[in-house]
């Protein structure tokens, strides 16, 4: 009897514990659901994420390499000295973050998720706003990398569209955006850029269309396609008409919301870059004292690339809440000025240039350079000077060889020419069999042997390698 009761107790004990074990032990709430992260997001939440991602892209490495490569800022210390003399920074690791940000979280994937949801809910205006951001991303991606996936993006192994086809697709996206912006719906719940002002989004879309028409206007013989130039003029006429309506990053003095270039200047990489001699001198030559004073401390002295000017150079005045212009009235006017110039309307071109100068509160007028294509060079110099940290200055350089920058001399193993494109990102190269093995860098922008003035173009390289 005693033995039996022991055995019974034993069986009961094991059975009890086992029963407990089987009872949804493995599927408890915090076991099967992540207690830390949501598994869905609304279109409005994703649009906020995409806006912040866009601001971050425009203000940070590696996109900030582009102004270093064309000497708008001077990389003088540590890694940034090497970037300035092209000794590093052109590999596919450097570009990986940018490539990922174009397509991945905060990029095209989230924008499309949001567009789908906004379309379903009938919020056409929000779809239009999202499409403007999409076109900006994909157009810039084509500028940076050349051929990229767009038609088949967001499928398992996307194929690469020719750069020209991407630009066409971008124009179509902007057309769709313009149509949707004119449609119904409340727009975004949170729009940091324009507070849901459809007219401002519409103007931005037009200026972007003008930008990308200009990017495709050059022929292989370096002549310009008048049809494209006229399209530039059609779009700029409807583009951003006032600096107050510039599409620009939006920051506050609060941490986690401060201008990233400012954070770079004061943070752990302090001292890596200094104001560029070229940029400061240009601002002075172009009679842009307002911009000069807003960017730099006096006296206005800059550094040469890769060589620190030490403590006797200007300091950057970029503050925590300083906005950075992504697409602006200045670009709209100067694109118009360039198109007019190339179409032979030099007087209108000069007028547009001076309008831009005065729109941004600069006193007097821009002194026009003499010599061959002096006005064109002045227009492009003004765009270079005002487009602070905007990647457009680098694309303009590839397209025009203005400013005709001198490469740093005497640096062992430095590149002998400005890199002509970003490498495809490492992750894409190692995962997508469709990546072109040896893409022509920016076929839309043939190499220039001379600058518009007729002088030899010092820094451009063959377009068959990055």
């Amino acid at each position: 009897m005693k033995m039996k009761s022991r055995a019974l107790a034993l069986v009961a004990m094991i059975a009890a514990v086992t029963a407990y074990g089987c009872n949804s032990f493995l599927t408890c709430d915090k076991c099967k659901n992540n207690p830390n992260l949501p598994t869905s997001a609304t279109a409005d939440q994703l649009f906020i994420g995409a806006q912040v991602s866009l601001m971050a892209q425009w203000e940070t490495y590696p996109l900030n390499l582009l102004p270093t490569w064309v000497d708008q800022i001077a990389g003088v210390n540590r890694q940034w000295a090497n970037y300035a003399n092209y000794a590093s920074g052109t590999d596919n690791i450097t570009s990986d973050a940018t490539w990922i940000s174009m397509y991945g979280p905060g990029g095209l994937a989230d924008i499309r998720r949001a567009e789908d949801e906004a379309t379903t809910s009938g919020n056409q205006k929000l779809v239009g706003e999202l499409q403007v951001v999409e076109a900006l991303l994909m157009g810039t991606s084509a500028d940076l990398f050349g051929d990229i996936p767009y038609d088949s993006a967001l499928t398992p192994s996307p194929t690469f569209d020719a750069q020209a086809a991407v630009y066409s697709h971008v124009q179509a996206t902007l057309d769709a955006a313009l149509s949707n912006l004119a449609g119904g719906g409340a727009g975004a719940a949170v729009d940091f850029f324009f507070a849901n002002d459809g007219a401002k989004w519409t103007a931005t879309a037009h200026t972007l269309k003008a930008r990308f028409f200009m990017h495709t206007a050059e022929n292989s013989d370096l002549s310009y396609d008048n049809g494209k130039l006229n399209s530039v003029l059609t779009e700029t006429a409807q583009g951003i008409s006032d600096p107050a309506n510039d599409f620009q990053t939006q920051h506050t003095e609060n941490n986690l919301e401060q201008n990233l270039f400012y954070q770079f200047l004061i943070g752990a990489r302090k001292g890596d870059v200094e104001p560029s001699q070229l940029h400061i001198n240009l601002l002075q030559a172009l009679n842009d004292p307002v911009l000069l004073a807003s960017l730099y401390t006096s006296p206005y002295i800059g550094s040469s690339p890769a060589l620190s000017g030490g403590s006797n150079v200007s300091q950057f005045k970029v503050g925590p809440a300083t906005p950075m212009i992504i697409v602006g009235n200045y670009e709209n006017l100067l694109l118009s000025a360039e198109a007019h110039y190339r179409l032979g309307n030099t007087a209108t071109a000069a007028t547009e240039l001076q309008t831009e100068h005065s729109n941004y509160g600069e006193p007097g007028s821009v002194p026009i350079l003499g010599g061959t294509n002096g006005l064109l060079i002045t227009i492009l110099d003004e765009k270079f000077a005002r487009g602070f940290l905007n990647p457009e200055i680098y694309f303009d350089y590839l397209r025009t060889c203005v400013p005709n920058i001198q490469l740093p001399a005497g640096i062992a193993n430095a590149f002998t020419a400005v890199p002509a494109r970003f490498n495809y990102g490492f992750t894409e190269e190692t995962t997508n069999p469709n990546v072109p093995s040896d893409p022509i860098a920016n076929a839309n922008w043939p190499k220039h042997l001379t600058s518009p003035s007729g002088a030899p173009c010092f820094g451009q390289r063959n377009r068959n390698s990055p």
């Binding site: 408890c28 397509y103 499309r112 401060q258 954070q263 770079f264 060589l307 992750t427 997508n432």
Partner: protein, 1082 residues
């Protein structure tokens, strides 16, 4: 919580219970145990079989214990004696009241075979029956090491158990890797089990959690370091899958079983051990003292006197210092002699029905970095007790409380790290004088700060500012405990229940004051880490003798485990007032809250068969269901089988020189579970950082009060399975020359399939990766252990232990992916690439012959290299080599060719004991990024050659060769060049893509431990002092290191206990220690 309270009460009740008064009619068992040589045998266990009664013999071999009257009823019983090194013996007696005297004479026997081995989940066996490789480290070996971290004390004790300390800092973690890397994610550490309960061994670096990576911030303890090594009876390492399969899907990286000390019946014993240690830095970096701050041979700032609030040049490429200029040694000045005081008291004892072990220890380490913020203090108290209830029911309780308080130093890839700021300082700048006359803090890059610039970055922090002004504190409270119930309802059945818990709360505060280099507005991180593990383990073990030649056991069991880890992490930036360092004194708070809960439900069974007293078979099967497995594939089986054949009888006629021989073969499978929630796809708050994503600047998608989300980087999978390691193992153990030596040789071959990784997907597809089971890794290796006993005399005993192991690790399949980042290093890429060891260093080399490299349009192999050996350095027209930017090559691995150790122990004149351990690691590389960075800064001694003319490759026409290449080719071969700032800041330094120049051999031979002890047991010890013995010992640790490594120490691990190591980027140094120990025993 409720469990812990119950446990405390139970144990207190046991201890407080008054000793039962001896009733009339009890039996007194007494006698003496001697060897066949007539010598008394001390420490032998004398026991009454199946009655859980017994004692240990004293120094004179005598024993004495009583059996209560209620249990001495004239029944027959078996009185047994056992001790390693002797054949166990039992004699039948009749348990009548009164004195029963029984003497024993024991025959010696090979110790190795009879050693009890713990094999996990409540199972034990003897070495004779063991079919797998298990390494055992006893308390004496652990304590002789004088290590404060139990993991570090295992260094050199077992083959293919690689131990690497993060640094010599107090509280730094220690990495343990057993038989190679078998995964791509997590930290690669084995499972730790203390007295049957799985415990936490995470290393949590505050910076590594949410704000950056584990290469920044401070050192972080691995949580096994909370255990007091003095409390540990033994450590058993289940290395391969064949041994560890009983732990199923958590055991792929091996299992470390820790058994704590227990009380024994007999007189109460007291032991007080105190040691004091002096720690000194082993090795530093050579720094130049010839050239000053500046660039291109100019003074700092190109000849312009630094203005207030201006940044000075970060480099030391200035003018030669004028004769008589005062210079400073920026390495030595940061360090002093560290001190560790370690005090431990234990009281243990018991009687025939109960035992107890009570211990307390305080370890107080004031570290070797100058300044107040470098210390670590661990206080532990432990009570382990057992009570017999009736004859067949035994209740045990085991409770320990640990209080750990640390104060750490910023180090590593960190602009506030002391090594980074210190070693980059120009030789003429005085770091010690870091407060300007206006009260502002200055650094060499920010030399004349104004009061308006209190919150400006100092570029790099002055190390003395950090060591005195930047606290980084830890305060941990931990309770570890379990209740054991052992019930033997029948002679043939034993039921065992262990319910255990591991709970800790770990509070951290890490602050950077105003004006620091990293976050100039000031920063406070407040983090709370809460770990709560509950574990239930029920086993039933049945044994039966089927016939004289066949006995067997059968074990079944169930395990339930709940592991909950919760962290609350607040990053406060912009201090409102300079102090206090609390979150409420910051303007912006970035909170993070993260919890993971894992439930595991497992069943296991094991059967053993002992055949003809020489063939021992074991088979086991475990079924694991974990909440971390994909819902579509929830339960998995893990089998094992082994056979051990004791050939001694079969070959006894062959040679009298062979004491014993054993052949063993085994097979087993283990697994590794997916990381929690990797089966799910989630959205998150995005954080976008400047400079590649992890530096100080961040934009967050909770922006201007609005909540934004971004999509997943990685897509989860509902079908995730555990990673699975299948291993074959075989070996031979034999003893020779009548106990003179024993040798064990093992070979293993393991293949880990279904390795989980975030398989990269084209970003243009919308995500970066998909989590899947997709890689295969193999580990194959040999292991040899040997013990020699050249002298075994009464007055002179000499033992030698040899350990040797080699492991070959290869990634054999990545399901089509070309390279996978393994580990999360920012300093150097560590790849999984098919055909190379896991976590190999990837980087660029210079253009060299034999690699099919094209320069311009020329294939150099065809056009330049004819006749030159492969590896010949290509020299461009300018006389310099060119970095091969197009090819990311595997340039090294941290995994060694082999490692081994030699231990020796000499006991002489009864009272003296001397021991030594030499630890050898052969091969394996380290990325010495610190040297490469100091080249860029012009502070390394090697940069003193600046301005001199060399030629790359061998010397030519009296121009000295440079770079060490035996052969060069190319248009510029033989062209003299000036090696100067351009070279070191460019391709010759670590900020370029040049990786190969800083990959160094990190092999070493270390005099790991040396000790000399004297034990007083003379009569005056007991007569005058009332003690049984006094121990005195002097010891040294890491006294000498022989290595070719040019950096700090070949044993360094920037990330601490991480999957992949081998990189040195301003790590804090290692230390050597001198220790004096006094032990009083009664």
């Amino acid at each position: 919580m409720r469990f812990r309270v119950l446990s405390v009460l139970a144990v207190l009740a046991l201890v407080a219970a008054p000793r039962a008064a001896r009733a009339q009619g009890e039996a007194l068992l007494t006698g003496k145990v001697t060897s066949t040589a007539g010598a008394p045998v001390e420490g032998a266990q004398v026991y009454l079989d199946k009655m859980a009664l017994g004692t240990l013999t004293k120094a004179d071999g005598s024993y004495r214990f009583t059996v209560p009257a209620a249990r001495a009823t004239g029944q027959p019983a078996l009185l047994g004696v056992r001790l390693q090194g002797f054949k166990p013996k039992t004699v039948p007696i009749t348990l009548n009241p009164g004195t029963i005297t029984t003497d024993f004479v024991l025959e010696t026997q090979a110790t190795v075979l009879q050693q009890i081995v713990i094999t996990g989940e409540g199972t034990i066996t003897t070495n004779e029956k063991l079919g797998v490789t298990v390494n055992n480290v006893g308390s004496e070996e652990i304590n002789k090491a004088n290590e404060q971290n139990l993991t570090e004390a295992l260094a050199g004790k077992a083959p293919n158990v690689a131990i690497t300390a993060e640094s010599g800092d107090p509280g730094s973690s220690v990495n343990i890797q057993i038989r190679g890397i078998k995964t791509f994610s997590g930290d690669g550490q084995p499972m730790f089990v203390v007295d049957g309960v799985p415990v936490d061994n995470q290393s949590i670096n505050v910076q590594g959690q949410f704000a950056g990576n584990a290469e920044q911030g401070t050192v972080a303890p691995n949580r096994i370091s909370d255990l007091n090594p003095n409390d540990v009876e033994s450590v058993t390492i289940l290395k391969g899958s064949a041994a560890a399969a009983i732990y199923g899907a958590r055991a792929a990286q091996g299992v470390v079983l820790i058994t704590t000390k227990s009380g024994r019946s007999g007189a109460t014993q007291y032991s007080l051990h105190s040691s004091y240690s002096f720690d000194k830095v082993t090795h530093g970096y050579p720094l130049q003292k010839t050239y000053g701050q500046g660039n291109s041979g100019f003074l700092a700032d190109n000849g312009v006197t630094p203005d207030t609030d201006a940044y000075s040049s970060s480099h030391s490429w200035g003018q030669p210092l004028a004769p008589g200029t005062k210079t400073y040694d920026h390495f030595d000045e940061m360090f002093e002699t560290g001190h560790v005081a370690d005090n431990n008291l234990s009281i243990s004892g018991g009687d025939d029905r109960r035992t107890f072990f009570l211990s307390g220890g305080i370890n107080n380490n004031s570290g070797f970095v100058v300044g107040p913020n470098d210390s670590y203090k661990r206080s532990t108290i432990r009570l382990k007790a057992s009570q017999l209830i009736g004859d067949k029911f035994k209740l045990g309780g085991n409770l320990s409380y640990i209080d750990t308080r640390g104060s750490f130093i910023q180090r590593g890839d960190n602009t506030s790290g002391i090594m980074l700021g210190g070693l980059r300082t120009p030789p003429e700048w005085n770091n010690l004088d870091f407060v300007a006359s206006n009260g502002q803090y200055k650094s060499y890059r920010f030399q004349t700060p104004s009061t308006l610039c209190a919150a400006c970055s100092r570029g790099y922090d002055n190390p003395f500012f950090i060591t005195s002004q930047a606290p980084a504190n830890e305060q941990l409270s931990r309770v570890l405990g379990n209740i054991d119930v052992n019930w033997e309802p029948f002679d043939w059945l034993k039921i065992q229940e262990t319910a255990g818990a591991d709970y800790y709360t770990d509070q951290r505060l890490e602050a950077l004051p105003l004006g620091n280099a990293t976050t100039p507005d000031g920063q406070v991180i407040r983090a709370d880490y809460n770990n709560y593990i509950l574990d239930h383990n029920l086993t039933a073990i049945a044994s039966h003798t089927f016939s004289p030649w066949f006995t067997g056991t059968f074990t079944v069991g169930q395990n339930l485990n709940s592991t909950d880890f919760h962290q609350i992490y607040d990053l406060g930036t912009t201090l409102i007032a300079p102090k206090p360092f609390v979150i409420t004194n910051t303007i912006t708070v970035d909170p993070n809250d993260n919890e993971t809960l894992v439930h595991r439900e497992s069943y296991f069974g094991q059967a053993t068969a002992d055949l003809w007293d020489q063939l021992f078979l074991t088979g086991a099967l475990r079924n694991d269901g974990f909440s971390t497995f994909g819902a579509n594939d929830r339960r998995h089986w893990f089998p094992k089988a082994s056979a051990a054949w004791n050939m001694t009888k079969a070959i006894s006629g062959l040679s009298s020189k062979i004491d014993f021989a054993k052949l063993r073969v085994a097979y087993g499978e283990t697994g590794r579970e997916p990381l929690p929630y990797s089966t799910l796809t989630s959205f998150k708050v995005g954080r976008f950082g400047e400079y590649g994503g992890d530096a100080s600047g961040i934009l967050r998608t909770i922006y201007q009060g609005q909540a934004g989300l971004i999509g997943p980087d990685s897509i989860g999978s509902d079908s995730l399975r555990p990673e699975r390691t299948r291993e074959y193992e075989g070996g031979l153990d034999f003893g020779l020359f009548k106990g003179f030596m024993d040798v064990g040789i093992s070979y293993y071959d393991s293949k880990t399939k279904d390795v989980i990784f975030e398989a990269p997907t084209p970003p243009s597809s919308g995500s970066i990766s998909i989590i899947k089971n997709a890689a295969t890794i193999t580990n194959k290796g040999w292991e040899v252990t040997s013990n020699l006993h050249p002298l075994r005399g009464e007055n002179l005993k000499w033992d030698i232990g040899l350990v040797w192991g080699r492991n070959r690790n290869l990634v054999t399949d990545l399901s089509g992916s070309s390279d996978i980042n393994v580990g999360s290093q920012a300093i150097i890429s560590t790849f999984a690439r098919v055909g190379f060891p896991t976590g190999s260093f990837a980087g660029h080399d210079f253009v060299r012959c034999g690699r099919g490299i094209t320069v311009g349009t020329d294939n150099i192999d065809d056009d330049v290299c004819q006749g030159k050996p492969a590896g010949t350095l290509y020299i461009a027209e300018n006389g310099f080599p060119v970095i091969d930017e197009d090819n990311l090559r595997i340039v090294g691995t941290a995994q060694p060719d082999w490692n081994g150790s030699v231990r020796t122990n000499v006991t002489f004149l009864k009272h003296w004991n001397a021991s030594a351990l030499v630890d050898i690691k052969h091969g394996g590389q380290m990325y010495d990024g610190t040297r490469g960075a100091l080249y860029v800064y012009g502070t390394h001694k090697d940069t003193e050659i600046r301005g001199q003319t060399f030629v790359f490759g061998p010397s030519v026409n009296g121009v000295r060769g440079f770079h060490g290449d035996a052969s060069v080719a190319g248009p510029g071969a033989g062209t003299p060049v000036i090696i100067d700032q351009n070279w070191f800041e460019g391709d010759g330094g670590a900020f370029s893509d040049n990786v190969t120049d800083f990959i160094e051999d990190a092999g070493y031979t270390k005099l790991r431990e040396v000790s000399l002890g004297y034990t007083f047991t003379q009569p005056w010890v007991s007569h005058s002092l009332g003690l049984s013995s006094i121990e005195l010992r002097v010891a040294g640790r890491n006294l000498v290191t022989w290595t070719h490594y040019a950096g700090l120490d070949p044993e360094t691990q920037l990330g601490g206990a991480t999957l992949v190591g081998g990189f040195d980027w301003f790590n804090n140094p290692q230390t050597r220690s001198f220790v004096v120990t006094v032990g009083l025993n009664r």
